[in-house]
Amino acid sequence: MMNLTLKIWRQKDANDKGQMVDYKVTDISEHMSFLEMMDVLNEQLVNSGDQPVAFDHDCREGICGMCSLYINGEAHGPDRGITTCQLHMRMFNDGDTITIEPWRASAFPVIKDLIVDRMSFERIQQAGGFISVNTSGNTQDANAIPISKHAADEAMDAAACIGCGACVATCKNSSAMLFVGAKVSQYALLPQGQVEAADRVKNMVEQMDLEGFGNCTNTGACEIECPKGISLENIARMNREFLSASLKG
């Protein structure tokens, strides 16, 4: 059982200035997940008539990409290859002070407390994150175009992105290159996606810039903090795709 001090960012709404507030939680089991510890805090706050801390979460098994906390200076906390909901309290010690902040980036404005607005990601996907095929039921047979196992596996690795935004949050430049690179790569690696590959990469990058994300300076922090281990190779691939698409006109 642990007693902890939590320093949490509280912000009433988008217009509020916001500040760090200290809380104490007691009798935290090491088997709890981090968000269950937050539930305990919130139950405490509700019972004392205070507003609970708002934070995004949903599936609590590391796949929906909702949860998004910057814990002790790291996206999704100190463990690797996991989302915040998969972080367990056994990573901490009795008496610790834990700092909990929302994702920080101009393109991710805070909505409330620890919840940020990730609509910029949506707009990037809408700019080209798809293959223009109708769901008519008249597509050709799934096995009509063989795809090498290698390409299919690589596309899958890129497609594993959950869109949580940890890459942006952890990037010293708030760059979204890993997120965009993963989507561009998934389609660029598959024959189905190649038809409109040039337009896709140009449109998605243009939207990414419009949203105000920063430039990639290849620190590699995103790859390390990414809960799904999306590789930096995807950024290189996007650079390649973009440059060749731009040169072609």
Partner: protein, 220 residues
């Protein structure tokens, strides 16, 4: 092609190209400097050639200057854009060391240190050189270079500044060299080997510059 430089990726690409050009220039520069250790004559011949050959003077030199200026200006532009992207709210606690190298996070500072050195280097060497050749139009003297250089390394403070500057250059290169390849879209199965070569380059080249300075300091 239109708007190529207006996109973030193109800016990074341009940054990488100018970087690779400067990296290549460093190799040339250190090669000539190295000659000073082995042979005074050889160094003088090479320096004289570089200093008087019209192709070098009127084509390569301006390109180099443009390259340097471009790299710095673009570096500042990118830094400003990135600061804007980060926004006014900074993390209260940020543990950058957990996921990235100091070098990669502080390119702007290692870059600024190098810029400072280049300014000193210009004042100390390049401006007198220009003055000699184009303002005062003194006669060509093919054997003056070696002495002029050795003299500069007499002052221990100068040598100290020189050494520190090249340490910063090494730090800058340790991240920058590989980063340039990534920005240009090169990341494949050879990347690991490349990375090792780039790391070796980043340490060996500045190391040689430092060695030459110290060598001359102790061999007066």
């Amino acid at each position: 092609m239109s708007g190529l430089l207006s996109s973030s990726i193109a800016r990074k690409f341009a940054m990488a190209l100018s970087a690779l050009f400067l990296i290549f220039f460093l190799l040339m520069h250190v090669s000539i400097n190295l000659l000073s250790i082995f042979s005074e004559d050889a160094f003088n011949v090479a320096s004289h050639f570089m200093g008087t050959n019209p192709l070098i003077q009127f084509l390569m030199q301006p390109i180099l200057i443009i390259g340097v200026v471009f790299h710095f200006v673009m570096g500042f532009i990118l830094e400003l854009k990135n600061r804007k992207a980060v926004g006014v709210h900074k993390y209260v606690k940020n543990n950058g060391a957990a996921n990235s190298t100091w070098m990669s996070r502080n390119m702007i500072y290692s870059g600024l240190a190098i810029l400072l050195f280049i300014v000193i280097h210009f004042l100390d060497f390049w401006i007198p050189e220009l003055k000699y050749k184009y303002v005062e139009v003194l006669p060509e003297e093919p054997t003056r270079y070696y002495h002029e250089m050795v003299e500069k390394f007499h002052n221990p403070i100068k040598v100290g500044v020189y050494v520190v500057a090249f340490v910063f250059l090494a730090l800058h290169l340790l991240h920058g060299f590989m980063s340039a390849f990534q920005s240009m879209g090169l990341n494949n199965k050879y990347t690991k080997t490349f990375e090792r070569c780039a790391k070796a380059y980043s340490i060996v080249i500045p190391g040689l510059f430092i060695f030459i300075a110290i060598f001359h300091y102790f061999n007066q």
